[in-house]
Symmetry: D2
Subunit: 381 residues, 4 copies
């Protein structure tokens, strides 16, 4: 693991997610840009002192020299955005698979570099979009894939939070500070932090691709260098339209990621706040409430849940699904297989990384323009 | 009443709403463009045969000749849009107050005519936007008026329905047919039917005015002459931004009008599907659920509810509030007073009518344009 | 109408409910035990002065002398419980049908008297249990009747309120005072006020009869002469068991009447706080949410709703269904028919009245006993 | 770990819960009564072969011989009920702390034996009641402890499931078979399986003790030797009354554990199906919705949650809180401290074990009796 020392939020989530199913073990880390804090973090996590590294460069070099059965198999990157590319490319060049936080890089150009290094390395690359790994999001995607919604006509995806309603970055709140700093976060604040999750979820679940975007980003709290709020209108490749709302200044909202997909045969609704429920509303018939662990779910959704119905699962479990799926990919890769066996699903990879970065750049450009619609760039993995 | 014969939906709602509080009595009507059906409708409603008129022209002429204590005091117009102006102006010219369904007229130009006739008549004009008359919408507006939300930053208003997900107008469904016919509905289908309610609700509750609009309207079901779906981005006069979604092709949605208003001190959320609840989410404190008839409500909200907490009220009661408020205005007008006494609130009038028509025309124009933002026209009552 | 003057709650509900559909017109009343207040109440309701009576005796005598087409057809009794019998029997003896608030009488013995007078009169008798007239309660009863739940195994019915959590009767709150006074309310407070609604709902929806009761009533707030809280365990005639909770000291609860019925094929859940929804949970299949006005409802439920789906209906509409149904019975009776035509359902009558009074007496007796189970008495209409 | 091999449900939950926070490591186990299956289970969990034992006797003997820093510190018992006592006492006699599934033993007499062995051992004993370890249940208990509800008047606790609505034990479903077998489950099925959770939750959160019980247990599905459904009326030591419903034949219910506590100042409501929410309803003020990770929570609740608000936590996280708290007790014990430091809360121990077994025996006895009320026995730890 690179990053995720004390004071970080997502590092602990990664570690719990990795530990949950007992398929991934944390063996080494460079947890902080400060060598001493890195070692202290590692020690508090029970790591051997010689595997708590001063920085990621030292870590990759040292681990690469270990015997195959002892060295780390993949690295989890949980740093601010601007470090994603250098760490990922260094790892790949040493032959380590990479599981990285989103967005993949600081900008789209960097992501093409990442793609090239990845292709040359022959290694695996995964992006942690945990929302797509909730059991009922898995079910939603499957229902759409087999045609139960008919032709998709409209997609509404929202991700609203309230934690940046006040200028907490001015008092040094660590999570807020780097996310609102263009040198560490990139060209966007809110869209790079949460909008890209909403975008990935919409494309992933529907199986559609956005082709045009109209966008308006806002810096609602005075003095911010990056957007903390925004809306994008979407056009999809099948002719469907969409609305994407992302905001971090929605006072009182927690982490309200909501996806609604309307087809001509049925619609689906899923909310992260009640993640174990999925509404299916068929045309002309009563709405059905699908539940995690409950009747009517497909094999994939079942495989992404651990408990019988009525035992709530949450964010860490969804994140653990990402780890379990990536571990399956790593095992399959080690065995020389091209695909995983069993019920594991592919973790979003370089294609999702490129589309995510293209999304961020397009909404930023569209927001600055007086023109309504902007083409989504071609990005191929 | 003009319109609202058999097969109509809203006429019966008007009649129930008028009857609920015993302050308005239906005394005459021209219920159909077919004279015989008009008489039959009137008879089935228990009206005297001589007050079931063949058409509105005859009705206004005849009623105007009755002694003051016997003749109707105001007319409710419940016809398709294209008839609103001729009926309203005829009524006003005969000295009858008008309570009209929305949108006020077929287009903005007509609405200016209406305004001029109204001013000349000295009569009252009300528009039935029942959603604004729910007790907890009254409460929401009051909370914002007194500053409990602080500065408003963002408004999200959605009105989604699924009843036009299929081309039911082709099989002659009466409600669908005229709403999708430009000669009867005007330049817009969905936005004129429900978008204008969402717009009125957003402006009314926040006390803000939209100044710019970016819009995209869609004809999702093939063959339609008017939009059945659309989204508008909004800019308000205080700098807040907004999103307005209106759609009638959202399979499985019923009549899901939802309003969320985010201020820098608190936010509010109200949904028509659970109309007796209002969420208030103060910054840094637990969310509160305000309930119709429950503790913490202001005098205005209390006056717009009839029952103790826990006894649900619905759409007809909200509509009845419009009638009760308009009846209070009529009584006050008859008494020579300029404002109503007691807890009655003004029914949206010609100013709301003009803004509603301006909204419809602006979203239509903005949707056809390649330019992102369009100024909202100046319309003054 | 007898009772329901100023300060009363339920009188206004009756009047709104009667007015809503235009099938019942208030023509006369004795609204208060004070003759002057009765006249004032009547005048404020727009009644002719000569039909605002000083008391019910005078009203029945005078109305009976009016020509058939002018006199009232039935009387609504909206007084405290101890007056139900004398008013109802006086009305019946004058040939007026009776629509009475529950519980039917002060005790079971009185109810047998009522039954005898009713039978002798040849008139109609209805009891206002409005909850059974919500569209989705109608649907629930129908689903069970046709066997969709299979064999019913368990019934949980709860009616919790918080309005008597404080001793408001000491400060003279009118609604509380008489409900806690044995001379006006009878042998029970909470069970006679709301428990009997829960009991009626459970028997009515399931079509089962309670055969044995174990009960515990409590006077939670010190100094009360009657119960303000209680629980009853139930045994039904098909072997099913049940739990009935009624309480008026549940701080923070509004009017939370909830019914859950579990069969071996499916279960149903309905809550008055969201009255337009009914959960159907089939064995081994996803739960379905049935909605008022929505797809999948039977003819009876549709006939008990007035609006398309998504337009909420509430308590007054349910109460209006009672009035509409009773009006249909009155019309059918006048026409010499034994049953109503069309979609009207029978209003609970003397059989329900007797069972309700038997319920109240049995829970009171069971609560006082050290023995667990008590037989439910045979009461036949 | 003893028990929890393949096919078991709760063993995997224990392992995930233990792993989540990295404070407990699974080092050995006797996972099955079949020695070979035990070894296979252990191997699949990554345990060294020499620490996968054929049975618990062998395990305790072998582990006790290991050096202190290598041997297991405590044993988790995840077997059917009849094995709890022999395993727990064997462990304690070898000096191992015990974390056991509920109910503690097969009957109350066994639990007294357990108590005596425990006292003699000087070891720690914990019982896995995970529901009490949800962050918002922690908050509920704390709010009551500091008096925010005032005097508690009524407690309603329900635990309804539908998984035994059909006789799945006849087709050999492993979870059902032993739970309905008196030799392995004890004198009760439903009450020993889930009723005891509801009982513990009610006493734990309120801080009150049940003093009298009236109960009715049912064998709803024909042919069962033990209850699959039941209700108990409760009397608490402060005069409050309560209702406890537990059922496993509630078709369509998942795992719906619900607790409502009514005081004279406020009430609380918590449901396991939405575990991150807690309703607080103060007398005469709007209801508040407290949320995991959200504003207004006390230090204890915060310490029992891992994520910011809006990131759902579930059953495994609650279970992990039990493990984390027990690990803190074990560490404190090793350090010679009598209480844990920091925010850890005590895991329910032998006192809860005794009261749980007394509850089961009392409801069974009360159900068989014709007498209404039965005293809850004195049991002291």
């Amino acid at each position: 693991m690179v990053g995720g020392g004390e004071g970080a939020f997502i590092g602990a989530v990664h570690r719990s997610a990795a530990a949950l199913d007992g398929q991934t073990t944390l063996v080494c880390g460079a947890f902080s840009s400060d060598a001493r804090r890195s070692r202290e973090s590692g020690a508090s996590l029970g790591l051997a002192a010689n595997r708590c590294y001063a920085d990621y460069t030292a870590m990759f070099a040292a681990e690469a020299l270990l015997p195959a059965e002892a060295r780390m198999e993949f690295v989890a990157i949980v740093t601010p955005n601007h470090l994603h590319l250098p760490i990922a490319t260094a790892a790949l060049r040493h032959g380590f698979h990479v599981l990285s936080d989103k967005p993949a890089t600081l900008n789209l150009a960097e992501c093409f570099v990442l793609r090239d290094v990845l292709v040359a390395s022959g290694c695996l690359y995964g992006l942690t979009h945990p929302y797509a790994a909730y059991p009922l999001v898995v079910e939603a995607a499957e229902r759409i894939r087999v045609g139960m919604l008919g032709t998709i006509r409209k997609v509404i995806v929202e991700y609203t939070q309230g934690w940046l309603a006040e200028p907490i970055e001015r008092s040094g709140q660590k999570q807020a500070t780097w996310r609102l700093d263009p040198t560490r976060a990139g060209a966007s604040g809110c869209m790079a932090d949460i909008g890209v999750h909403a975008f990935q979820l919409a494309e992933h679940v529907t199986g559609l691709c956005v082709t045009e975007i109209c966008a308006e980003l806002n810096r609602v709290v005075a003095g911010r260098a990056l957007d903390d709020d925004g809306t994008a209108l979407l056009r999809f490749d099948n002719g469907a339209n969409g609305v994407l709302v992302a905001s971090q200044i929605c006072t009182g909202e927690e982490n309200d990621l909501t996806l609604r997909v309307y087809g001509d045969k049925a619609s689906l609704e899923w909310r992260q706040q009640e993640p174990n429920s999925l509404w299916l509303r068929p045309l002309g018939a009563p709405a059905q409430l699908l539940r995690s662990g409950g009747p009517g779910l497909g094999a994939a959704a079942q495989a992404h849940s651990r408990l019988p119905s009525g035992h709530p699962e949450g964010y860490i479990e969804a994140f653990a699904n990402v780890y379990r799926n990536f571990a399956a990919q790593v095992r399959a890769h080690a065995a020389g297989a091209r695909t995983t066996s069993g019920a594991a699903l592919p973790v979003p990879g370089i294609a999702a990384a490129l589309r995510g970065m293209a999304f961020i750049e397009t909404v930023v450009a569209a927001s600055r323009s007086a023109q309504k619609w902007h083409a989504f760039p071609e990005v191929s993995a």
